[in-house]
């Protein structure tokens, strides 16, 4: 078809200043590395989505008619590994964070461009290990690799999968390290800590978790590999070890990892809510410090995964109370976002729809987390679909929606093109509706006692499972749509202006797409963030 887009004046930007595959694969530019990450995390997300579809297809009927139990174990394990380690953890930091942090702080690049590129290659190598596992027969331990099953009994490719995640962990560590140094030392003149956008604060807190937590899970998986491969015992009672120690070490990282997923999303939401309300975020310092508080408290709650694992009742009590405490900084954010919108000029553009969806779903996810952190309640709900629904509300309803929100918000900046406003709003609604239809019934299933990780279930659970599978189809449609219209927009979308949403922030004061070194001249910051009084006019897109 013939498109209406005007002839493009070839201005030099980061996308066209060099051409050829080599200029991408050897780039040191944080913006290009962000694009490399965008492509690779999208591929892994799609792959994880295929496994999710297989799970929902199998669960449409009570009998195990599509997959055998062994295959089903492998399918949900691969779904978990791909989504957690290869999509959710790198999603926002490695794409949007990589692209935006230097721009938001007025820098030309991250502090260590080569390490940034190295982190992408490490991610790819880790991914190749995982794909190898996938092609040669899979792994059936669940993404949690609980011992002694994983080290002594599982028939899957535990060693290769463990090594894949071990390697991938270093990609995450290097990204976090790069962010911390960059935020400390590369800020533009006048950009003090309390003038930083909240997105940067959120990433700072995330980076702290990445560098403190990831090494622990890396060494833990290393021990699993030693025990399985060389019978050098650590966790299997047959070798004198204690399987609960594995759980402690694993969750010391893997619980904070949930905050690696959600904190960057919260950063995105803070930016988007403020922009589309044309109002300074209510309680800037509270939102900033709540990110740090979540990172700190997040490290003290891992024991709530061990309430029924033989942990002492007193330890359980302490972990239970500390888990309640994390709800406070999370709630501060939600209340502050609501207060930001209050009396603001709220515009319901696509990113804002996603942001509102995030607030709703994250609230449900967070509140059900309170159920699970109460000791007595958790005994009843452990390993049921209630847990599955809870963490999907946080990870999908929270992290994924935040990611989509951010992609839609900064797409015009990243690629210099607008996407279809109609289709993107349709997709935002489909994702919200489809998501709730998929996962709300799972709360009920879990409360009724349906355990997770089984592919056969009693017929009385079928109604809710069919609802859930139907919702998953709607959700899938809502996720396929952006893949189509965003790709389409790359060539045919309307040319975006420097600042199509009327946002504040340094990244909006340079060309779309940005030039190679981000800014013509290094900006000097003289005001606080979110100063809408200097905003000339809001360019409406419709």
């Amino acid at each position: 078809m013939i498109t209406a887009s005007p002839p493009v004046k070839e201005t030099k930007n980061y996308l066209n200043h060099e051409r050829g595959i080599k200029s991408w694969l050897l780039t040191g530019d944080h913006k290009r590395i962000a694009i490399l990450y965008l492509i690779s995390v999208t591929l892994f997300f799609a792959l994880g989505g295929v496994f999710a579809s297989l799970i929902r297809l199998e669960l449409s009927t009570p009998a195990g008619d599509l997959l055998e139990s062994n295959q089903y174990n492998k399918v949900f394990t691969m779904h978990g590994i791909l989504m957690v380690f290869f999509f959710l953890i790198p999603s926002i930091p490695a794409t949007l964070g990589n692209f935006l942090i230097p721009m938001m702080i007025g820098a030309k690049d991250l502090a260590f461009p080569k390490i940034n590129l190295l982190s992408w290659y490490i991610y790819v190598v880790g991914g190749i290990f995982t794909l190898y596992v996938l092609l040669t027969g899979g792994v059936d331990t669940g993404w949690t690799f609980y011992t002694p099953f994983s080290t002594s009994y599982s028939n899957g490719y535990v060693i290769a999968a463990g090594l894949g995640i071990f390697i991938n962990g270093f990609s995450s560590i290097l990204t976090g390290l790069n962010f911390i140094v960059t935020i400390h030392r590369m800020r533009a003149p006048g950009l003090t800590w309390f003038r930083l956008p909240l997105f940067v604060w959120a990433h700072y807190a995330t980076s702290a978790i990445m560098i403190l937590g990831t090494p622990v899970v890396a060494v833990t998986l290393f021990l699993v590999v030693l025990e399985r491969g060389f019978h050098i015992g650590f966790f299997d009672p047959a070798y004198g070890g204690d399987p609960v120690l594995f759980q402690h070490l694993f969750w010391f990282y893997s619980h904070p990892a949930v905050y690696i997923m959600i904190l960057p999303s919260m950063g995105v939401i803070s930016e988007v809510i403020s922009t589309f309300s044309s109002k300074k975020p209510f309680g800037y310092t509270f939102i900033a410090f709540s990110s740090v508080a979540i990172a700190v408290f997040g490290f003290l709650v891992w024991g709530h995964h061990l309430f029924v694992a033989g942990q002492s009742i007193y330890a359980g009590l302490v972990f239970s109370i500390l888990s309640y405490v994390v709800a406070i900084p999370s709630a501060i954010k939600v209340f502050n976002w609501a207060a930001t919108m209050y009396k603001g000029k709220v515009r319901l553009e696509t990113p804002m729809l996603y942001a509102l969806g995030f607030i709703g779903l994250f609230t449900v996810g967070g509140l059900t987390g309170i159920f699970l952190s109460s000791l007595g309640m958790d005994v009843h709900l452990t390993d049921t679909y209630f847990v599955v629904a809870h963490f999907h509300y946080v990870m999908v309803g929270g992290a994924l929606l935040g990611y989509l929100c951010g992609i839609h918000f900064w797409w015009p900046k990243i690629f210099g093109r607008m996407y279809s406003q109609v289709w993107s709003k349709v997709s935002a609604v489909l994702v919200f509706v489809g998501f709730n239809l998929t996962f709300f019934p799972q709360f009920l299933l879990g409360y009724m006692g349906m355990p997770r990780r089984y592919h056969v279930y009693p017929p009385e659970f079928q109604v809710f499972n069919v609802l859930s599978s139907a919702g998953a189809s709607v959700l899938a449609l809502g996720l396929i749509l952006p893949a189509i219209y965003l790709t389409w927009s790359l060539k045919h979308g309307e040319i975006a202006s420097e600042n199509p949403w009327g946002a504040t922030g340094l990244e909006w004061q340079t060309a779309s797409p940005p030039i190679m070194e981000n800014f013509e001249v290094t900006p000097v910051v003289t005001t606080e963030a979110y100063d809408y009084s200097t905003q000339q006019e809001v360019v409406h897109v419709g």
Binding site: T182, M186, I211, V219, L226, I232, F234, G240, D242, H248
Partner: protein, 222 residues
Amino acid sequence: MASHAVSTTLRHHFASDEQQKDAATIGMWVFLVTEIMFFGGLFLAYFAYRQAYPAAFASASNKTNLWLGAANTTVLICSSLTMALAVHAASMGKKTLLVLFLIMTLLLGGAFLGVKAYEYHDKWVHHEIPGQHFECEGCEDAGHAPLFFSLYFAMTGLHATHMLIGFVILVILIVQAARGKFTEKWYTPIEMFGLYWHFVDIVWIFLFPLLYLIDRSHTGLK
């Protein structure tokens, strides 16, 4: 203060040499924090099991060779000294001294690894490697004694891996230093490597008492 002339070692995205140096230093310290957490998982496992199975650990730890461990500790502390002297020589712009101290560090590091390899071989000969053929003569609580050796090999093995990586980097640095790559104005890689090397030393300073010294009174010095 250095002049504002653009130096050849300043990369394009930094505003000044000071900023570049600062970034490298903070980056290195943050990296060492991740390393502490990396070893930390193993230390936690060690403390948990040592506390749970004191008899097994006390008797098994007496199987380590105290004198070789002590000798290696001395070697490593000396290598830290030569490394510190190398950094100092670099800051004075004394190329020959720098190369000399780096080579001494390399030799001491090599000596450490050699002794370690001998100790591993010794353990191999005596079947003190966990697994099917594990034997531990005179170990109490035989069901848990292998845990000590699992941790011994994991901890010293991870430490030795760090030494090996340091060894390779040292060779590269020696070649670069000999070619005159570093000046008194710019010797950041030497300084950063110094931090790494000292860190690896400090890990050993903790490993030595934990694996060799505690409960030595069990059998007395031998």
